[in-house]
Symmetry: C2
C-alpha cells in the first residue's frame, strides 16, 4: 500500500486579505505530479479541505476541480474526512455518488467505524468530531472529553480489525505532545482537545490533519502531513509538503516527505527601514513574496506600511522589534500634545508626514473653506 498523506488544504483561505487560490493550485499541481509518477494506490486527505463552513464560490469551484482531476481523470481512490474548518453537511453533498469511483468521503462518526479496504490495508476514516457527537452516537454520557471519545471510537473500530490486513487511521485531531502553531484553529482551549498517542497504538499508521507542521508529532507511526502552504508568520520557517507512505505486506513503514513550494512564499524580513528599502537590497529579494516585516528602527517612520508596499506589494504585516525604543520616541506624540493642537494643524502635519510636502496654496484654501463649513454646521446643531 502506497499512498499520499496530505491534509489541511484550507482552500479559500486568505491571509491578511490576500487570496491564496493561485498558490493553492500551484502546490496541488506538485502533489498531482508525484501521485501520477509514483502510481500511488490512494490519496488520503485528513480534513480541513476548505477554510470555512461556507467557502466562497471560487473555492468550491477549485476544490471540485482538484478532486475531479485526481479521482475521475487520474482514477486515484480518495480517502477523505472533514475537519473542524469544514461544514460536514456541505462537504458531504454528492457523497453517495462519489463512492462509485472510490472517492470515500466521511463526515460522520458512524461512517468511520466500517473500514474501506484497498490493497493490503483497512482504512478507517474518522472526521473531526466533538465529544458531544460521540455521546449522542454511542448513547454514553461518560464521553466528556476528546480523549474518552476517541478511545471509544477506536475500541469500536477494533472490532472490525482483520489480522490479514494493515490498519490505517485517517483522522483530524490533536495528538498530545504535538507542536501547535498559530493558524490551526482558534476555538480550542489548551489541553482539553488532546488525545493521547497511546489510544492509537494498534494502528499501523495514523494519517493526521489539524496541525500545520509536518514534524508536529514525535511518534513515528502517528504523523501530521502538514499543510501545502504557509498560512501564518509562525509557519514561515516550516517545510511544507506532503508525505508518501508505503506499508509493505510485512508491515515495514516508509515515510518520504515531498516538499512543495509556491512561486510566492511567505517570509519574514528583518532589518532597519532604510536597509530594507535600499535598492541594492531589495533587488536581491523576491519582492512579491508574502512578507512580514520586522523593523529594528526605534524612530517614527511616517507611512511606513505604504512605503514598504510600494516595493513589496504583498506585505502582510509589520512589527517593531524594539518597542520600548519606539515608545520613548513616540512621547512627542502623546495624547496631551495632540489635544492641544488644532485639527487643522494636525491635518497639515499629517499631510506633510505622509507626502513629504506641505499643503499647496489651493489645498490650504480648500481646507479653510471646509473648516469654516464644519463650524457653521456645528453651530446649527447646537442651536
Amino acid at each position: 500500500m502506497k499512498f499520499i498523506h496530505t491534509a489541511d488544504w484550507h482552500i479559500g483561505k486568505k491571509i491578511h486579505g490576500f487570496q491564496l487560490l493561485k498558490e493553492q493550485e500551484e502546490v496541488y499541481r506538485q502533489l498531482v505530479e508525484v501521485a501520477v509518477k509514483e502510481k500511488v494506490d490512494a490519496i488520503v486527505i485528513a480534513g480541513d479541505l476548505y477554510d470555512r463552513a461556507v467557502p466562497p464560490a471560487e473555492a468550491v469551484l477549485l476544490l471540485n476541480k482538484m478532486l475531479m482531476e485526481l479521482n475521475i481523470v487520474q482514477k486515484i481512490p480518495l480517502l477523505v474526512v472533514s475537519g473542524n474548518h469544514d461544514s460536514s453537511t456541505r462537504l458531504a453533498t454528492g457523497g453517495p455518488w462519489y463512492e462509485f469511483l472510490n472517492f470515500h468521503l466521511v463526515t460522520k462518526i458512524e461512517d468511520s467505524l466500517k473500514p474501506i479496504v484497498l490493497g493490503n490495508t483497512q482504512f478507517f476514516l474518522l472526521p473531526y468530531f466533538e465529544p458531544i457527537d460521540a455521546r449522542l452516537y454511542f448513547g454514553d454520557a461518560s464521553l466528556t472529553t476528546h480523549e474518552l471519545a476517541a478511545k471509544r471510537v477506536v475500541e469500536e473500530m477494533k472490532k472490525s480489525f482483520d489480522p490479514n490486513y494493515h490498519q490505517v487511521l485517517v483522522a483530524h485531531l490533536f495528538v498530545a505532545g504535538s507542536l501547535r502553531t498559530d493558524s490551526e484553529t482558534e476555538v480550542t482551549v489548551g489541553g482539553l482537545d488532546q488525545v493521547s498517542a497511546s489510544v492509537f497504538k494498534d494502528f499501523d499508521y495514523v494519517a493526521l490533519g489539524h496541525l500545520h507542521n509536518p514534524n508536529a508529532s514525535r511518534h513515528e507511526r502517528i504523523q501530521y502531513s502538514g499543510t501545502l502552504l504557509k498560512f501564518s508568520v509562525s509557519e514561515a520557517n516550516q517545510a511544507k509538503g506532503f508525505k508518501l507512505i508505503e506499508l509493505t505486506d510485512e508491515g515495514t513503514l516508509k515515510n518520504t516527505f515531498y516538499p512543495v513550494e509556491s512561486t510566492k512564499s511567505l517570509r519574514v524580513l528583518t532589518g532597519l527601514f532604510d536597509e530594507l528599502t535600499a535598492r541594492d537590497y531589495y533587488e536581491t529579494q523576491k519582492k512579491d513574496d508574502y512578507l512580514f516585516i520586522q523593523l529594528k528602527d526605534t524612530q517614527i517612520i511616517p507611512d511606513a506600511m505604504n512605503r514598504l508596499r510600494e516595493i513589496y506589494p504583498n506585505v502582510l504585516g509589520m512589527e517593531r522589534l524594539d518597542k520600548t525604543g519606539l515608545l520613548s520616541k513616540m512621547g512627542q506624540f502623546n495624547k496631551e500634545k495632540i489635544q492641544q493642537s488644532s485639527p487643522r494643524a494636525l491635518f497639515e502635519k499629517y499631510y506633510q508626514e505622509v507626502t513629504g510636502d506641505s499643503l499647496s496654496k489651493q489645498q490650504t484654501d480648500l481646507l479653510t473653506t471646509i473648516f469654516a463649513q464644519l463650524k457653521i454646521e456645528e453651530e446649527d446643531q447646537t442651536q
Copy 2:
C-alpha cells in the same frame, strides 16, 4: 419517453419565517411514488432546486437525500438545470461524479449545447442565464436581451438535432405571454426578461421552470410544471403538483398533471374578526394551515395578530379589506392627539387595549417609579 417534469423546489424556502422543509419532503414523497409506479424513464427538474445561492445546511442535507433516493436508490436518470435562485457553482459540486449514474446537472450555457440522449429523445439542458453570459460565451456583443440570447443558444442546439429523435428542452426562463405571481423572483424588470414562444417552435416539448403556476403558459408544448408547494398568498388558489409527460415515437404528446398536497396548506381566510375567532367557526377549520387573514372589520382590533395566532398558530399575515373604513376609525389616533397625551397616559391606554384590563395598583406604582427614574436620568444627561 415518459418523464416527470417538475421545477422550482426552492428547498430551504421560508414563508414569513416559517420553515417549509417538512412540507417539502411530504410533497416530494408523492412525486417519488408516482415516479416509481409509472416507471418513468427520467425526472426533469427545471431549476431553482434551492431557494438561495447559499442555502442553509438543512436544505443541503434534504436536497442531497432527495436526489440520492431518486437517482441512486430508485436508479432513475435525473435531468437538472440550475435556476436564478441557485448558485450554479455551488450546485455543480459533485457534478462530474453524478454523470456516472445518469444524473445530468447543467449549470453553464456551454454544457447545454450537447444533448443527452435517453430513449427516443435528445434532451437539451439550459440553465438560467443572463444575456451577459451568452455575450461572453459566444463572443457576440449583440446579444443584449434574454430574447436574443435564447435565440442564439437554440440556434446552436439545433446543429445537434437528430431527426431520428425527439427534442426536449429543459430551461429556466420566462416565456412571453405567461402569467406571473409574486414569489418567482424579485429581480426582473417587467418585460425585459421575456423570451418569445416562437424561439422554441422546433422542440417537441419545452419543460420550463421559473413561474410557479402550472397553467402559466398557453402553449401546449411549452409548459411550466409549477411548484410543489404554495409559496405566496397569490398562489393560494393554484393547483400544485408536477407533470407526467409522454412522447410516443410518433410524436404524440400526453401531459398529465399530478396534484400534490402537504398536510399544511396555504389558504386565505376572509371574514369579520369575531366570525373567524368564533369557536363554532374555527372548529370546522384546519387550524394549523398557513393562513393569510383578510379582515372585513373597520374598527381597530387591539393585538389582532396575536389573538389570531392563539387560534391559528401559522398565520402568515393579515390585511384589512376596507382600508378606508379603518382609516376613518383611526382618526381618533392621529398624530396630534398622540402627541398631546403624556407617555404615561398612552401606556395606560395601550395596556388596556391589549389586555382589556386597567393597570393594577402595584403596576401603577411601578410605572410611577419608572417614569420618575427616567426623568432623573434625562436631567442628568442634559446637565
